[in-house]
């Protein structure tokens, strides 16, 4: 983070984390949406702290890259946040983001989100900052955009930064217009900010002045598309094109084994 703009592709298992390292990125992001999907659930607070932690441990063990981890709402109140921060730090996370939604939460892009009052969110953020032991980067995420609009987002962002958050993260940016407001009113006002999305290419996001971009849905979207196509092909043609080819081309399979066996 001190060396400049950080681009972190989103993954939800250890194999994909290894791939992020192998393809030359400098950080990896663990997505709660993807973790929930891996377990077969939508991202609506059904996946618990322990399940997120298990996935985080597997991912941190699999890569030397710094792991930026979703910590949702901290799984309860300020006391729960304290424990979450300690667990995430113990698992090896380099950074986490904590959001101001009502628990149980929803994905940042779903309807039906609710946010907790600013005072409560600040108390949870302070609990997180006090609980960290060892340089964990704490990212304060606000979900207020869809609920209350930009004025509240700007108030909250400044309050979170003033309370000591290392980065601010406005989630639910759905248009280039919103991204422009985010950039103009917060990034250019001097707040260190994170952008989650693909409305702009990384070099553009960096030019806007963001400190970090996460591509939360990268692995999930890739798997979803390829698995859907493969299952259709198997159903309709009796063979999965590329997988069948894989068996004839051992290098691709060996690629996985090599990746999995590579020294940490």
């Amino acid at each position: 983070l001190e060396q400049g703009f950080v681009l972190a592709p989103g993954v939800y298992n250890a194999l994909f984390a290894k791939l992020v390292e192998q393809t030359g990125f400098s950080a990896v992001y663990m997505t709660g949406f993807g973790t929930a999907a891996r377990y077969g659930y939508p991202d609506t607070g059904l996946i618990t702290q322990t399940e997120m932690l298990a996935n985080l441990r597997a991912i941190c063990s699999a890569t030397r890259l710094p792991v930026i981890a979703d910590a949702d709402t901290g799984y309860g109140n300020a006391v729960n946040v304290t424990r979450t921060v300690r667990l995430w730090e113990g698992a090896g996370a380099a950074a986490l983001h904590l959001e101001d939604q009502v628990f149980p939460k929803k994905c940042g892009f779903m309807r039906g989100k609710q946010v907790i009052p600013l005072e409560e969110a600040l108390a949870k953020l302070r609990a997180a900052l006090d609980a960290r032991a060892d340089g964990l980067v704490i990212i304060a995420r606000t979900d207020a955009l869809a609920v209350n609009g930009w004025d509240d987002v700007i108030t909250r962002s400044h309050a979170y930064r003033d309370a000591g958050a290392d980065l601010v993260f406005v989630d639910g940016i759905r248009s280039r217009d919103d991204l422009a407001i985010y950039s103009k009113d917060l990034v250019q006002a001097g707040l260190p900010c994170l952008y989650n999305g693909v409305l702009a290419e990384p070099h553009e996001v960096e030019q806007f002045g963001f400190k970090m971009q996460i591509l939360a849905g990268l692995a999930l979207a890739a798997v979803y598309e390829s698995a859907t196509a493969a299952m259709r092909a198997l159903r309709e043609d009796g063979a999965i094109g590329r997988v069948t080819a894989c068996y004839d081309e051992p290098p691709e399979r060996e690629g996985i084994n090599e990746l999995l066996s590579s020294a940490q």
């Binding site: 592709p9 891996r38 209350n148 693909v198 068996y247």
Partner: protein, 285 residues
Amino acid sequence: MSAGRKLREQLSSGFVVAPSVYDGLTALIAQRAGFGVCHLSGEATAAQLGFPDVHLTGFSEVVDNVRYVSEAVRISVIADADSGFGNVHNVARTVREYEAAGAGGLHLSDETFPRHSAANRGEHLLPIDAASDNLRAALDTRSDPDFVIIARTYAMAPHGWNDTLERVAAYRGAGVDLVFVDGIEAMADLARYAADVASAGPTLYNGALVPTEQVGELGFSVNIAGGGHVLSYLAVRDALLRVRTGSTAEPARNELRFGDITSLLGLDEVYALEARYATTSTEER
């Protein structure tokens, strides 16, 4: 209806194609594509936890994955149980845990535990009697008599057909529901597998030497279509390389996928439950 009964009905209604999955999401995708049975691969379970397929994953990690996959879908799950994670005691526990986790059946191999070599599967086989004991322990332990027990042998690669056929006969004699010969890599072997094994009783083929339809015509009961995690690996790698070279996916498609993915994962059901039980007043604000 028990998970075992459900799988057994699938098997008795005809030839079954079971695509390999490795997590809740891929199982849901298999179900949506119309498959009635999916196969949970041990290799892919290990891979997603970051390990090669040499028993570095803990038993509870493996069982957790069986549970997540079984809970995610209504279709039947055939779960890879490797060699049963130890001796007959471990085999017995494996059967109890897999059954409780919601699998409809499992396959149990005749390798020693832990796997001695990732490269040379089948180099270290259990003696035929010990392997049969494991299978009998598995059969005796199941609490649901419909829970499907499949015997897998790795004897083909190191020992060839004679030992393989001897083992198939012994395992069938022990009472397993299906047999599964691993390492069929040539058309001639597939033909012999069909003629000498599939013709004599329920048999599973794990491979893609011919399209699934032909596998059914050859007389097999089940065709596992593996390699799903390899495909995911390639897709994620391609996506990462696209970002590295400066071309991320266009936003419109991303938006579309978001809706598809959340609906597959059951978001609509969550909203329906919220409406029924008023968990949160989403209309309040």
